[in-house]
Amino acid sequence: MLMSRNVQRGFTLIELLVAMAVGLVVLGGVLSVYLTTIRTSHATLQASRLNQEMAAILNIMANDIRRAGYWGDGNVSTPDANPFSQVDTATAANTTAVRVHYTDDNGANYTDKTEEVIFANRQGSCITYAYDRNGDGDLDDDEKFGFRWDGQSDDGILMRRSAPGGTGGTNICNSNTDIWESLTDTGTIEITGTGLNFSLEDSSCLNTDNAAQPDCYANIPVAGSGDATVESLRLAISLNARLADDPDVKAEMTQTVQVRNLLVRTY
């Protein structure tokens, strides 16, 4: 008797409602945890992807620029004859030393200001330099390097592999004959905002022949004076980028690199 009565009784409406309500609350909780996990995990992955890309780009640039000015013939007694570390004030494009090219007041990119003797105190999004990759002592076309970003978010960072045509007129950023390759994949990251910026502001210059005015950035030696100067170039690279498929993921990174080969000049 007891048995059959029990079987037929079933759940009351209240019981069912309570059970369903509890079930829904539990399910909702679980779902929200699930969604939060997915969202966080997605954000973490995106941020880490961007971080990784940017760190890799900065590393490549810093490691390469650090070598600027290496000369296989490196005759330590005549460092001012280093063909990989020349500054040509008359024809700026002949300059092989580390050089930051910048956007001028009119918005034109990479203007060469020949009257500028000292290349520090400049910021720009293009840099050119050279080093003796094959160690033969001669400046070859494929030993003129550079990095640049042209200022639009659909422009990637370009890396110069070669600058044919001797020294004349090649050390500029917008030459059609130079061979530039993409360093970044525009489908992965976009350079935005202030983008890529090089600055030599922290460099220092020592005039070895003028004890009274040793800072040759503050007191530019007179051409023909015979003064020898030694420049220690310190380059700050800053990079501002976002993910192409998720523009909300942005980051800015800065790296400073000390160019190890000193720039020696005789005026």
Binding site: L2, M3, N6, V7, A19, G23, V26, L27, V30, L31, V33, Y34, T37, I38, S41, T44, L45, S48, N51, Q52, A55, N59, N63, R66, R67, G69, Y70, W71, G74, V76, S77, P79, N82, F84, S85, Y131, R133, A211, V230, R260, N261, L262, V264
Partner: protein, 419 residues
């Protein structure tokens, strides 16, 4: 009793199964996503730690190169066996670059272990050359290989540095004076490597004392003339001059010395004017007038010392690691010659010993029994009133000076590479 329970249990069980199932599915998905994220993050961590290790190895290599440069400043071939310290074939196996046991007296290792666990091994390669204008340049290639703390990453930095010699044109005589030489005490001037002893722009007077004499290389020596200019296997000597006989070994009244200005005389040996030399090449600058303690120069090794003012009554050893007393000598690796420039008079008392070059802008006076190994040069007079001078020329010591108090030049003017 069993039947009573079963339907209830079954009913509850089935309803719970749906929740459980959903919960399980959701949890499994979350777990997988978490795993995926964790794996990606871990990969990123690995990449970053690889970058970090690579950077660590690089910094270690740089630290090694810098330390080697500091070492080079005090002379690179310190035991003078012609081989440089390092780990390369042909390099020295009993001379080392770095101090590993914290005792600065000697070095034991070519490997430097840094605080963060990374380490660097350094080799030196001789790159000496002669410029088109005939100047010998002492150049050394530093090869520094750095490892990260776990030895997984390694980077190599190679750089050539040149040493600027503090004595570009070393003297060829034991005693050179622009002024006169008057010796009252018992003095000996010995040049076992050549045939000249005293070179003076004025009078040389050795007549005051019976014992005063000069000695030059003996042509009858079995090794003559190979022993000339060889300080390690010097010739036997014979007397050149004494109080009665002025031999050919003494050059006096040489107008080519007398007519030089003091600055020109200085520049003849040191290559640059005195003021510039003091500003750029000197490693120990002692201003006696300003109260600097002259005893600092005792046991000074591999230094370029400038003393502003007179040295009066100095009684110590310069240019040797151990103090030499009485008639003793400094030998072997203990000989670490210095350049001592006295901008004033050198007044000798007691028994000082000098190894290297002593250059005096004033006069040499005093009554002490001073011993000079290397060379003694003065712009003024050498008048040892009552004291005695013992001067023995040594070309090896003078050559070692080229690497003393070294100034590094060209350390990075185009020679640095890491590939």
């Amino acid at each position: 009793m069993i039947r009573i329970v079963t339907p209830m249990v079954t009913g509850r069980h089935q309803r719970g199964a749906a929740t459980l199932l959903i919960a399980l599915v959701v949890l499994t998905t979350i777990t997988f996503i978490s795993f995926y994220t964790a794996r990606t993050v871990m990969t990123e961590q690995k990449v970053s730690s690889n970058v970090l290790r690579s950077r660590m190895a690089f910094e270690a290599a740089e630290a090694g190169a810098e330390s080697a440069m500091a070492y080079l400043g005090d002379g690179r071939d310190r035991d003078g066996d012609g081989k440089l310290p390092g780990v390369l074939a042909g390099s020295d196996d009993d001379e080392f670059l770095f101090d590993s046991d914290g005792n600065p007296a000697d070095n034991e290792s070519n490997t430097l272990v840094l605080d963060d666990g990374s380490r660097v091994t350094v080799s030196l390669v001789n790159q000496d050359f002669t410029t088109a204008s005939g100047i010998n340049v002492i150049a050394t290639e530093i090869q520094a290989q750095g490892w990260s703390d776990d030895q997984a990453a390694t980077r190599t930095v190679i750089q050539t540095v040149a040493l600027v010699s503090p004595l570009p044109n070393g003297p060829q005589n034991p005693l050179i004076t622009r002024g006169s030489v008057v010796v009252n005490g018992a003095s000996t001037v010995i040049n076992p490597e050549g045939n000249s002893t005293i070179w003076s722009g004025d009078d040389v007077d050795l007549t005051a004392n019976n014992s005063t004499h000069t000695e030059v290389a003996n042509p009858a020596d079995a090794n003559y003339p190979d022993c000339l200019g060889d300080a390690d296997n010097p010739c036997g000597t014979i007397q050149g001059s004494d109080r009665y006989v002025a031999g050919l070994d003494i050059i006096e009244y040489d107008t080519s010395l007398k007519n030089l200005s003091k600055a020109e005389f200085f520049e003849n040996f040191f290559g640059v004017p005195p003021a510039k030399y003091r500003a750029t090449r000197v490693t120990m600058d002692i201003d006696v007038g300003a109260g600097d303690d002259l005893n600092q120069i005792k046991l000074a090794t591999r230094e370029v010392i400038w003393v502003d003012g007179d040295i009066d009554g100095f009684n110590g050893t310069v240019g040797c690691r151990v103090a030499v007393v009485g008639a003793g000598t400094c030998s072997g690796d203990d000989r670490q010659p210095s350049i001592l420039i006295v901008d004033g008079d050198l007044d000798l008392n007691g028994t000082p010993h000098f190894y290297g070059l002593v250059y005096v802008t004033g006069d040499i006076l005093g009554s002490g029994n001073a011993t000079f190994h290397g060379s003694l040069v003065t712009e003024g007079d050498a008048t040892a009133t009552n004291g005695s001078l013992a001067i023995r020329y040594n070309s090896t010591l003078l050559e070692m000076l080229a690497e003393s108090g070294g100034q590094i030049a060209g350390g990075g003017g185009g020679s640095w590479r890491d590939f």
